[in-house]
């Protein structure tokens, strides 16, 4: 049987401008392939023609890694988890190589949500960028705005009023709580628990309505501005917030009682997908996933960027680095965030909420890197200005990409059922990954 990689497809997978030319030679020396249970021609019955089945992948493989992944040994089969699957967050596709239910290897296929936001931002001026980056991490979009705004403010030396900073911290932490609530719900859902997702959506809905009263939108708040925020705190927001603070995180606590001690839940997560300290650092994992493996790296403390130095909160860390730790870290962070919100409400200064800026922004040529701590890790923006009113280069760094990159290293050896536990414990958001 001809090796499947060399399917007769020409003119594909080869960039016109400089590409990996040296790969071409590599394909000659590739391991000899056996007929496997996955081979369509084995399971085939008469009336179905062989042309029904595409070779996998349907293009000549491009790297040794890809060729070696898409070569099946005996008893192995591919399973496409996604892009349409109940428990892939967003439109993610994992090509899983299984033997039985044991995972041999994984190849994540990204890009189903790619919109080219960086290019769009480079062609739209500094005011536009803020609402262009909104739908990137659609679950916690304020943080993406925050990173962009931080970078721009460094770029054009803007001094943000303290009240604006406090409002940013307040809304940001609220959104962090809602994002974590959604994480817990979906995590439980991927493990087969029906109920927690609805409890967490109750929590999230309160917060999101609150933020709608503040920012004017439920999901894609286009709220932060360069040098401040769009609108000041209003009575409706404050009253809603007051109601919520009286029972802050109640639903999340109820989930904790529902899951944290549940034997089934704990057994499914303890010791699953263990990511030790070195591995986490090598993979550039950030956020709760990194802290769950014992590295106390949180941009809010490691590199203070707003009024966070004035606030009193601590960075929860855990040593195990397994799914359970990653789940529990989130709960601790929710409690910390509630503390932060409380402090923000108590010492919220008066004053303006916007720095005075020209209508048309033309920063001096320069470079700036702004990073903030989102719910999933460090969100960074590296922007270059060439003196025009559009950023010359607008680079978005999304934590979910690197968090998801650990999946091919974490999954092998586990069962198919653990895929959902591990992937959703890493909490990726495909909108941010695919840019």
């Amino acid at each position: 049987m001809p090796p499947r990689q060399n399917a007769p497809r020409s003119s594909t997978g080869r960039p016109s401008a400089p590409g990996p030319k040296m790969r071409a030679g590599a394909r000659a020396a590739e391991p000899e392939r056996f007929a496997s249970a996955d081979d369509p021609r084995v399971m085939l019955d008469r009336e179905v023609g062989a042309d029904l089945f595409e070779p996998i992948p349907p293009y000549p493989t491009r790297t040794e890694r890809e060729g070696e992944f898409y070569t099946l040994r005996d008893g192995e089969m591919f399973l496409n988890v996604g892009p349409h699957h109940p428990s892939t967050h967003g439109v993610m596709r994992l090509v899983v190589k299984l033997s039985g239910e044991q995972i041999v290897d994984v190849d994540p296929v990204l890009g189903y949500l790619h919109r080219g936001v960086e290019k769009i931002c480079e062609n739209s001026d500094y005011y536009h960028v803020i609402d262009q980056v909104d739908p990137l991490e659609y679950i916690s979009s304020l943080f993406q705005e925050w990173a962009a705004v931080l970078s721009f403010e460094k770029l054009m030396d803007v001094q943000v009023p303290r009240r604006a900073e406090y409002i940013r911290v307040l809304s940001g932490e609220l959104l962090r709580i809602s994002s974590h609530a959604m994480f817990m719900g979906f995590f439980a859902l991927d493990l087969g628990g029906l109920t927690p997702i609805l409890y967490s959506f109750i929590e999230r809905d309160e917060i999101v309505e609150m933020l709608a009263a503040l920012t004017g939108a439920r999901m894609l708040f286009n709220y932060f501005r360069i040098g401040g925020v769009n609108g000041d705190l209003n009575h409706e927001f404050m009253s809603r917030l007051g109601d919520w603070m009286s029972r802050a995180g109640r639903e999340i606590e109820s989930q904790a009682t529902l899951l944290n001690e549940n034997e089934i839940f704990v057994r499914r997560n303890r010791g699953v997908g263990v990511m030790d300290r070195d591995m986490a650092l090598r993979y550039g994992v950030t956020g709760g996933n990194l802290r769950a493996s014992g590295v106390p790296f949180d941009v809010r403390r490691a590199h203070p960027y707003s009024v966070y130095p004035e606030l009193d909160f601590n960075i929860p860390t855990r040593e195990e680095g397994d799914c359970l730790a990653r789940y529990l870290i989130r709960i601790d962070e929710v409690r910390e965030s509630i503390k932060i919100i409380d402090q923000c409400l108590h010492n919220m200064p008066d004053g303006p909420i916007m720095a005075r800026l020209p209508r048309l922004l033309r920063p001096r040529p320069g470079r700036a890197w702004g990073a903030c701590e989102g719910p999933r890790g460090m969100l960074g923006v590296y922007s270059i200005s060439d003196g025009s009113d559009q950023p010359f280069r607008f680079r978005i760094h999304d934590p979910s990409l690197l968090n998801l990159e650990t999946v091919p290293a974490l999954l092998p050896g586990h069962l198919l059922a653990d895929t959902m536990a591990i992937v959703s414990s890493l909490d990726p958001v495909m909108g941010g990954i695919d840019k």
Partner: protein, 448 residues
């Protein structure tokens, strides 16, 4: 010919219809009456001659028909209970409190296109849902709903039940293999493995009961616990009851053991490629299974149709034999209807407010009267006939367990496959063996 055509041509449409229908109707009526008069008695004799066969056919049909409303009720129950448990309302638009929801589900499933994927083994693919459904329906035959109300009182009832339970898995396996989909395949194999490992503790846990009752007939088991509450085997065999409950959960593929259609892992398991009524069969079979499992737990460990409290005053109401009134019915019925209607209508008219006019209040009064009469008749039946009483108790217990299953589904996450197997082999099997050993010892010591 021509005058006839002319006559036909002159008739209007209604007349033509009448001309066709009326003679047919007349002929049909005459024929029916004649058939009843002439063939009726011999037919009845024929039926009476081979009664067991007739009884079996009637019972099978009744059970087959009974599964549909049962499944509907269970589906609606699950929707509602789970919804309330996660702070939703659940279906509340179709019918009163959304009660017609599952009916609409049924229509939806019927009206959907059911297609088979290319490369599927069509015959097996089509056969699989039927096998599953029939297997789960056939198990209903041996369940004693009430004294005398049992499909077929087999003396190997439990054995029959477990055999049929095995068949259910066969259907799932067929579905998983024939769908030509890896998810389905995984689901089917999972269900096979799960069934194999959980049949054993399930069966072994019941053996203790069999030893105590010295019979395998479900009816016999119920009769053995018909003394008082403490004759129920939940008190004599608590461990067995626990094991049976857990194993039965796995047997019915319910959360936390719903490996076969673990929706977040393998998309819908064996049912991934199914749609339309083929899927509907699986859907029904699942809920019928839940009902059967609960019914069996009730039968074996919770005294079946026996009441927790005995009814000393359950004398028979022979004086109220309907025929004892004779022609008086002609007077009684209208009188009761008339005065009863007024009796219930008057308070409505008086206190119902302005919106209740004369006729509307009379109508409501009539409805209330009907409800009251139905209640009276039911109460009379409950007191008079012990099968009504038994049925009520049986259903009450069974639905309690059904709701427990739903409750578990609302709460618990899913167990992983290997943990599932490990639990079965490492814990349930030894425990059931231990239970068996202890029971055997006790039987030898006490009952000799």
């Amino acid at each position: 010919m021509k005058p006839l055509a002319a006559f036909w041509g002159r008739r209007s449409l209604n007349e033509r219809v009448a001309l066709i229908v009326v003679p047919i109707a007349v002929v049909a009526a005459v024929v029916t009456v004649l058939a009843i008069v002439l063939l009726g008695p011999p037919f009845l004799d024929f039926l009476g001659a081979n009664l067991p066969l007739v009884r079996f056919v009637v019972a099978a049909t009744a059970i087959l028909v009974m599964t549909i409303p049962t499944a509907f009720i269970l589906i609606y129950l699950e929707l509602k209970v789970i919804a309330r448990m996660n702070l939703r309302i659940g279906p509340n638009r179709i019918g009163p409190w959304g009660a017609a929801m599952s009916l609409v589900h049924g229509f939806k499933v019927l009206s959907k296109e059911d297609f088979a994927p290319t490369g599927a083994d069509i015959t097996v693919f089509t056969l699989a849902p039927v096998v599953t459904y029939m297997a789960s329906v056939m198990t209903l035959l041996v369940i004693p709903f009430a004294p005398g109300l049992i499909g077929q009182d087999l003396n190997i009832g439990l054995l029959y039940f477990f055999a049929m339970g095995g068949l259910t898995v066969l259907g799932l396996l067929m579905a998983g293999w024939s769908s030509f989909n890896k998810y389905s395949l995984l689901g089917g194999l999972r269900s096979a493995a799960q069934a194999i490992s959980y049949e054993i503790p399930l069966t072994l846990s019941v053996v203790g009961v069999i030893m105590l009752t010295r019979t395998m007939s479900t009816n016999g088991i119920v009769l053995a616990q018909s003394g008082s509450v403490f004759d129920w085997f939940i008190f004599k065999q608590p461990l067995a009851a626990l094991i049976f409950f857990i194993a039965a959960t796995a047997e019915a593929n319910r959360t936390p053991f719903d490996m076969t259609e673990a929706d977040s892992e393998i998309v819908a398991g064996f049912a991934t490629e199914y749609s339309g009524m083929r899927f509907g069969f699986f859907f029904f079979a699942e809920y019928v299974n839940v009902f059967i499992v609960s019914a069996l737990i009730t039968t074996i460990f919770f005294g079946g149709w026996t009441a927790p409290l005995n009814w000393p005053w359950a004398y028979n109401l022979d004086w109220f034999h309907p025929l004892s009134f004779g022609l008086a019915w002609i007077a009684i019925v209208p009188t009761v209807l008339l005065f009863g209607t007024y009796f219930f209508a008057i308070p409505v008219r008086l206190f119902g407010g302005r919106s209740w006019g004369l006729w509307s209040s009379l109508g409501l009064g009539f409805l209330i009267l009907l409800v009251a009469l139905a209640g009276l008749v039911g109460l009379a039946g409950f007191i008079a006939f012990d099968w009504v009483r038994g049925l009520c108790w049986f259903m009450a217990k069974t639905y309690a367990f059904v709701i427990t299953f739903v409750w578990m589904r609302a709460t618990l996450p899913r167990v992983r496959v290997d943990q599932l197997m490990g639990f079965a082999w490492k814990w349930l099997l030894p425990a059931s063996l231990l239970n068996l050993f202890v029971t055997a010892t006790a039987v030898i010591i006490l009952y000799r």
